[in-house]
Amino acid sequence: MMQRVWALALVTCKEGIRDRSLYGIFLFALFVLGLNIAVAGFFMRDLGKVTVDMNLAALSFAGLLLVFFICINLMAKDIDKKTIHLVLSKPFSRAEYIWGKYFGLLLVVLFAQVIVLLFSCGTVAYVHGMYPNYFAGFHWPVFFIAAFFIYLQQALLCAIVVFFSSITSTSFITLIFSIASYIVGVSLEEVVFYLRTQAASQDVVASLQLQRTLETVSWLVPNFAAFDFKIEAAHGLALEWSRLAMTCGYGISYIIVLLVLASIIFKRREFN
């Protein structure tokens, strides 16, 4: 089983990293990192924080572009162009197909993230070398932990892409649902928190029904904000291991649930 999953993951990864759109994403990331060096001097005392924040934001945004455009395309192309007929004529179970594709997407994202991270490290090291006094609280380990959680966030987003690809028949609908899930996942924590604090101070701004709906949605949609450690990396704040482990467990659990659901749905699906 693992041999087949690995074979499909490898093929998916090769297809992804040879896609020319990837060069565009690299160029964009390089532009942001170059911009960071060019404008670093304008930020005075916050220079260290802005540099770290901008680098992690570039890493995150490059990853999002990759997932939304290349990964969705890698999933959808198989079905649109009927390559899946060829693949499923080999002894693949539908679940093996889902896991193989997912691991392939993870490898593509890992490849791209490692390259952007290398450039990013170069940028941070360069600015750090130019203005060492403004990087007093900066720690490389926290920076790498923040980068790892950006990767985990994108791994979760890949699982969402695979899940929606197993339900929908076109890449456009997968794209819309995935972007919507991301936006809701990033912002819902703050909205729910705001509503709770308003309700606690009895300054009610939303109906009880809406509050309950949002609470329910917050249980369904993964909280992408939980993977954001940019502030800690920028300010050099200490991270608790328990929080890191909880966030890891949260992300991995969500990924497993989404892929199991996708496998069940995919098993029932027909390929005309």
Binding site: R4, W6, A7, K14, D19, L86, S89
Partner: protein, 254 residues
């Protein structure tokens, strides 16, 4: 023993909301004997590809059952011994032919030694050995078809399912496919294929069936086929007569 049995298969599709369902296959029953070449012919939209997809468990029949060696295809166990070439195969663009075949080999659990010899043998036989390191997006339509054949046959399957194998091939390519099918037949493989090219079907098959509007309207035995080959009768005439009548008197001819 029959290797493939299609028993009263029915399949319909919904073309969209508020539209009448289309009956793609309607009560199709046939038997393909082990080691024979079975050709399914029919006009466009007759339900040939739908039948093949049900055979490979890519779609499920609304009613009826498909069995291969007395086992239902729903289990998926039969796939270890099946090679499939779809009509106009779309292969992974950015892979080289070697990488595509490596994928097929790994998926079928082949070890490196038989993989190398089989790759060499098949690519030479199909005339694309020179293109092993080329990316598939640079392949012409005919070369893609040949690559698809190599992909299907790499693990030396006992059952070969080909959907329009001559599609997009030049005369040399068509001859190559015909020779390949005859070679597979000699090795005792069971071959099930769909084609529009009646002369090739007549030449290659042990059994031929005409599918029209989802129904099997005519089946020819080996004796019929021998008479086609001897020039006593013509498959094309039989086909035109059956399909022409089939359009008017659907389901009444057998």
């Amino acid at each position: 023993m029959s290797q493939i049995i299609l028993n009263s298969l029915c399949k319909s599709y919904s073309p969209g909301l508020f539209k009448k369902r289309i009956q793609a296959v309607d009560g199709l029953s046939l038997k393909v004997s082990s080691g024979s070449v079975y050709g399914l012919v029919g006009p466009n939209g007759a339900g040939k590809s739908t039948t093949i997809r049900m055979l490979l468990n890519l779609i499920r029949p609304d009613r009826g059952e498909v069995t291969i060696n007395d086992q239902s295809v729903a289990s998926g166990d039969f796939l270890h011994d099946v090679g499939y070439l779809p009509e106009n195969p779309y292969l992974y663009d950015h892979l080289t032919l070697r990488e595509l075949l490596q994928f097929a080999g790994r998926a079928c659990g082949m070890s490196s030694s038989p993989f190398s010899s089989r790759t060499q043998e098949l690519t030479s036989q199909t005339g694309i050995a020179h293109a092993l390191s080329r990316k598939l997006r640079t392949f012409s339509k005919g070369m893609r078809q040949r690559a698809g054949l190599c992909f299907a046959l790499l693990h030396d399957p006992g059952l070969v399912v080909l959907d329009e194998p001559m599609s997009g091939l030049d005369p040399l390519g068509r001859k190559m496919v015909c020779d390949l099918i005859l070679d597979l037949k000699q090795q005792g493989k069971t071959i099930f294929f769909c084609s529009h090219i009646l002369s090739d079907t007549e030449r290659l098959c042990d059994q031929i069936a005409i599918l029209h509007q989802g129904r099997l309207i005519r089946e020819f035995s080996i004796e019929d086929i021998k008479s086609f080959r001897a020039g006593e009768r013509c498959l094309e005439d039989e086909f035109v007569a059956a399909v022409g009548l089939g359009s008017g008197q659907r389901g009444s001819i057998k």
